[in-house]
């Protein structure tokens, strides 16, 4: 009897917990265990969540606005950044390109800030991408960067 209990108790507990999570997922759309949580557009970029980035923009989220970003780009810190700045912070050119392809605007006004930020964050691929399209700013001194 004790041996039976020893063999079966942990598996049954886990099966019960996971089945509850699975039923909730099937009925409500999200499981109890490791469910998706709401994130801002810039948080999605910071987490390399390109699917969520495209979902939010296709639902009307502005790819050129500024969003709060908690504990993703900076550990345990709130930062307010644009999607393009968040992409620079990840140093991933494909994310930068994703935002641009979905309406993120790189203009003569924001390009110097992005270039200075890319240099600061050592986002070399993105810096090269920007250098091909915009002249390098003379100096980054006094330019307001996300951090």
């Amino acid at each position: 009897m004790l041996l039976s209990l020893a063999l079966v108790s942990a598996p049954v507990l886990v099966i019960a917990g996971l089945s509850a999570s699975g039923i909730v997922a099937l009925v409500q759309g999200q499981p109890l265990v490791w469910a998706a949580e709401p994130v801002t557009l810039t948080e999605a970029i910071g987490m390399h969540d390109s699917g969520e980035v495209v979902r939010q923009i296709s639902l009307g989220v502005n790819p050129n606005a500024r969003y709060d970003t908690w504990d993703v780009l900076k550990r345990y810190q709130h930062v307010s950044v644009t999607p393009l700045e968040a992409a620079v912070a990840t140093r991933e050119l494909y994310l930068f390109d994703l935002v641009v392809a979905h309406g993120g605007l790189v203009t003569p006004e924001n390009a110097p800030t992005l270039q200075c930020f890319a240099a600061q964050e050592r986002a070399t691929d993105i810096a090269e991408y920007l250098a091909k399209r915009f002249a390098q700013p003379d100096s980054c001194d006094g330019r307001k960067l996300p951090w």
């Binding site: 063999l7 942990a10 598996p11 886990v14 089945s19 499981p31 699917g51």
Partner: protein, 469 residues
Amino acid sequence: MLKGPVIAAWMLGALTALGLAGSIYRTPIQVSDSLEVIERVSGLPSLGAAFVDGLHNSPVMLRPLKQVETKLLVEAGEALGNRYHLVFRGYHAAAGAALIALFLLVCRVRTWTDVAALGFGLAVLTGMQTFVGLFREAFPLNHFLLVALAVLATYALAQTRGGRLVDLAAAAIFAVAALTFETGLLVWPVAVTGYVAGLRGISKRGIALMTIVLIAYGTARVTYLQYRSIGVGQRTTGFGTGTLSPQDQVTRFGEDPTPFYAYNAAMSATSVLVSQPTVGQWTVVNAWRQGRLPPVYVVQIGSSLLTSALIAWFMIGRGASGSRRWRDPISLVFLVLLVANAIMSYSYAKEEVVSAAGVLYAVMACVAARALLAHRPPVWLAGPIIAVALAVSSAWAIRSIGLHLKLRHGAFDARSQWASVFYPTNPASWPAEGHTRQIVERMREEALMQRTIAPAMLPRWTEQWWGED
């Protein structure tokens, strides 16, 4: 009338299937290895055309029924109002439930002791590293899962009282499995070994029928269709504590691939028994050398070693008839399948390829646990056995939670892939044909709207307990 233990066993199976279905259904249809097939069959006029196309679209892979099955699901999705996620992911979840149901049938639960052994067996089944590959990806149908289903179904048929219908069903299952994926050929040794070991559900006539299918398959493959076998350098694979790129493999083993093939086969079998190496690579040795051994290695290797020891104890023991239990049908079928499945992994190591052997390993764990529960050890040994049983079953329970974590990772990856489909700045990559384009657009929409957790949001300790993705 169903008895209490049987009802309890099916309830346990149903709960396991529901938990699994919840995670599978949250995983979007993939792009890589899937969309190409979906686009291909969408443009074909009929199921027959999909079959014929599947005969000729690769020089090494003969999988025409995979295309037929994919076309069937695409058409079912259309018929249900373009609900492709429902059909493709629902099918995958239902196939998972069918696997659990067959597992229950093969384990043959009759008493409360059997239920306890089944609980342990289900934890082993869903905790096996080879099990993850049956659900994490779909291509767009997971052919490894279909083979595992076919193997279990064949064994379940062999356990029946038999008859003409059973023979026909066994031959049909074999044909479908073989024409869906190459490892489907494993169904034949399962049936033959079962017969040799004394199971008569599939009769001599049924075995002959299956052998005719096998000969027809081999003849068509080699002579009419002129398929080549897979050689050295197919994909990156582990070797020792490192990995070999396709080019490395050709350089080192191009002249004489035998040692490389032998390594892959031996390590594939070993991975089923001890959870290492991982894809041919002894990652545990690397972790040890780096001075850090995360709990995932202790849990996985420890539970596998002890469970394999339990299975070995069972096999060398004697059954009620007095003969060694390795001669029992399930033991012999497991041993033969393990070897045959490993041999089919000769070209490269991949956990999914040995998933059929992994499923039977779990059946063996259930059967061996049942024997352990029936065993009466000396009183002084009872305490340690209970403690070890608790530790091992807890370890497998932890491993089975990891399945769902890996499915979350898979869901994230699958959804992310859709971000590059219909890429606004690359319209040249969009499907040109209108009907196919509609299907892909709808699949993309369904996938992107399905929110998944990003791995970056998962607690860091999950990596310690279940490994990196």
